[in-house]
Symmetry: C2
Subunit: 463 residues, 2 copies
């Protein structure tokens, strides 16, 4: 087992070092949809055209999501591995307000400057960039295929839907385009987190997690116990009050979500460094019926595996909430407070979490307080169509059934060219990750499907 | 002839008085695509549901263009006449920054406030309004058919293209979606103005107009002659210098354009009050080979017919350029300076005007000076696709071949559901006008075609 793991890590490093790109910048207007503000700024994009047929080869265009674009470039192995056989140019475009694509430098995320952070503006950035890559030609020369995972997958689908004249087709991996008010039950996400743990880690694992919440609350009430947790769980900050305990529990809830999301069959540094099948790994500690200190010790091991798999962290910084890891997605909370309002709730019944209802009023009040904005919970449905995608074309929606985000995914083929592929044992956009000897056959099939469709779209373009 | 005319005027008045609607207002965000500015304002819309099947009847939705919406409601008889047989609700939505849909009251058109006047923002207004008319339902109940003529036709097509989940199909009449850089020759518009005059008025008419430009310039150089023109042509202002003469000639060029555009087979007050077949009427004065004072007198008659058909104007206000008549489209110049940059030129060869080249640099400089904006001549192509509409569906593009705007229209069927219908002897969106005994058969055929397609789209929606 150990040998296999190190081999995979070694392979993974090898693959990564092959991903070479040029870093470029492209000027975009701050506001594409109005002329009141006349500022412009630069978005970053990464390019590799080692295998490109400069005459007519396709452009593989990753619609960057909430994070620095290099992270997605490093982990979207599917594009790198597929480009040579298509003689494709590879482009990864960074989403405005993430990475270094900041319109106002380090003031960009201030409430006074963040207002131009929307998906429509980002798509318009990509549209301008694609037009530039086509040389501004009225008749485009190169077929453009959009790729994206997660919010990036939503963007790749939206890019095709809103700019079909610029984008020939889209691979939208794990794109929760239905994760909006009135389209999906708010408990679907956490139900899948739980079922993933149940499938990969067994029911005892989920039972232990389910009862851990109240157990930790009870346990931490005692000052000595709280200090025991501080020390044994290697928490950066002590648990001084119930507020701290809540912060810790929120951190842990987010941890389980992430573990389910990145439950890949190989070790990966995407989001956080983790072993292969991390759900299986952490659930090894949660076997049997655990109570009292035994349960606390076991949960401590889970925490430690999650936060310190690479042995680089000295302590568990539970106060930073879900803002950990490699993503640096500070802007996302703002997007979630404006047009990306995704209702989430837990029942404690069909999931392993404490019950928490979805309360839009409270949510909106929090957004108002934090950013001074009023969320538009229907925005995504009105702008992009949500579950009314019948008029769309040339999109593959892929979903791993172990991925919590599948809860908001497209599960039914929409029409003859908007198709769905399900990856039974796949986590969050596994199909876009670098191929790996440990990949299940279902993801190999999904990748072949993607390639077939890409080939078809390119043929269409050339007709 | 006289009887026929009065009968038609009488009919036209009768028809108009039948168009009854409720005037309503709907709150929209000033900026749909960002949250920096949090203002909102109200757009006007007109509603009639006399014939509506409230359970599932369609909504006929006019995507208002550059003018007060009542004008379009009064002249889009096709919607009024067709609604009963479809049990449709009729909605006319006013475009932001026109009519009374002003975000900043009478300051709206100031350079400091006009920046949110864009087609994308207007479409987003309409999207919100349609959603509201559906009761905010996740599964819409009523099929929505978009209608529009001219820029309104562009908007109806764009509305279907960008929001197909909200709009089932679109009748886009005389929509110059190709009238952008690199898609259409800049001389196409004036070529059609000329051919319309030639067909309806004869070659002598266009010959006389062609030579009138230099003749007027020469004639007006003499002070006595200039005063003669002032008096005989009933100009509000005297021709004091070459600048005034240029203003007069610009006014006249615009006059010929309008005459071709609204060359309807019945008297109409759309844009300006004019007799039936106004091109034919004015060309009666331009028969034979005219020179000197004869030519001046004839042109004077043309001017007088155009500016004072209803005998209400005391003089020809040539200084107001093309900003005459019923449209009140003051915002349009701004749109033409930002994203609706439509290259226009004359050659004097294939058209009856003085040669004038298209000079984007000069055009941009003028826009910069007037509004402080830099035009984006490729914006419409990048945002809406221009001539790359293959992925669109459920649109009928209709064009009257006598309409100058047909020069930028869609002439070839794009795919099985984006179809083209040509009205050989039609002027500017004649098919949307109230039906009239004088209508040519081609426009009747076009209207039947529209109705067939609307029926098909509604069937699709209900499936």
């Amino acid at each position: 087992m150990w040998r296999e793991l190190t081999l995979l890590i070694f392979l993974s490093v090898l693959v990564k070092s092959e991903y070479k790109f040029e870093t470029k910048y492209f000027k975009v207007p701050l506001d594409h949809f109005g002329y009141q503000n006349k500022d412009s700024f630069q978005i970053k994009y990464l390019v590799n055209d080692d295998h490109w047929d400069h005459d007519s080869g396709p452009i593989f265009f990753y619609t960057g999501n909430e994070g620095q674009i290099e992270l997605f470039a490093q982990h979207t192995g599917f594009m790198w591995e597929t480009a040579p056989e298509f003689n494709a140019k590879i482009v990864f475009a960074e989403h405005r307000y993430y990475g270094t694509s900041m319109p106002f430098g380090n003031k960009s995320l201030d409430n006074d400057h963040i207002g131009y952070l929307t998906s429509e503006q980002a798509l318009a950035d990509y549209a301008d960039l694609v037009d530039y890559l086509q040389g501004g030609a009225v008749i485009p020369k190169y077929p453009v295929i959009a790729f994206g995972g997660s919010y990036g997958g939503m963007l790749s689908a939206y890019f095709r839907m809103k700019y079909p004249h610029l984008v020939t087709g889209a691979i939208a991996a794990s794109a929760p385009v239905h994760m909006f008010q009135g389209m999906t039950n708010c408990d679907s996400y956490y139900k899948i987190v739980t079922s993933s743990f149940s499938i990969d880690g067994g029911n005892q694992c989920t039972d232990n997690i389910r009862k851990s919440w109240s157990a930790i609350r009870e346990f931490a009430k005692n000052e000595t116990n709280a200090e025991w947790l501080h020390k044994n769980w290697k928490l950066c900050d002590p648990l001084k009050n119930t507020n701290n305990v809540q912060e810790l529990l929120d951190f842990m809830q987010s941890m389980y979500e992430t573990l389910a999301m990145v439950n890949y069959p190989f070790p990966s540094e995407f989001l956080v460094p983790l072993p292969a099948y991390p759900v299986r790994v952490v659930c090894q500690y949660l076997n049997g019926t655990l109570n009292g200190t035994k349960l606390m010790e076991a949960i401590g091991e889970v925490l430690n595996t999650f936060t310190n798999y690479d042995k680089k962290n000295k302590c568990v910084d539970y106060k930073k909430g879900s803002d950990y890891g490699n993503l640096d997605a500070s802007g996302w909370d703002y997007q979630a407070c404006t047009e990306m309002v995704m209702p989430m709730c837990t029942t404690g019944d069909h999931d392993m979490f404490e019950p928490r209802t979805w309360n839009l009023t409270q949510y909106a009040a929090d957004c108002q307080k934090r950013y001074g904005v009023v969320p538009r919970p229907d925005a995504a449905r009105i702008i992009y169509g949500g579950d009314r995608l019948r008029a769309a074309s040339n999109i593959v929606f892929s979903n791993g059934l172990k991925d919590p985000w599948a809860g908001g995914g497209v599960f039914n083929t929409v029409n003859e060219s908007v198709e769905v592929i399900l990856i039974i044992d796949g986590a969050h956009h596994l199909d876009l990750m670098p191929s790996n000897p440990a990949d299940p056959s279902t993801v190999r099939i999904a990748r072949d499907f993607h390639k077939q469709r890409i080939r078809r779209w390119i043929r269409q373009f050339r007709k």
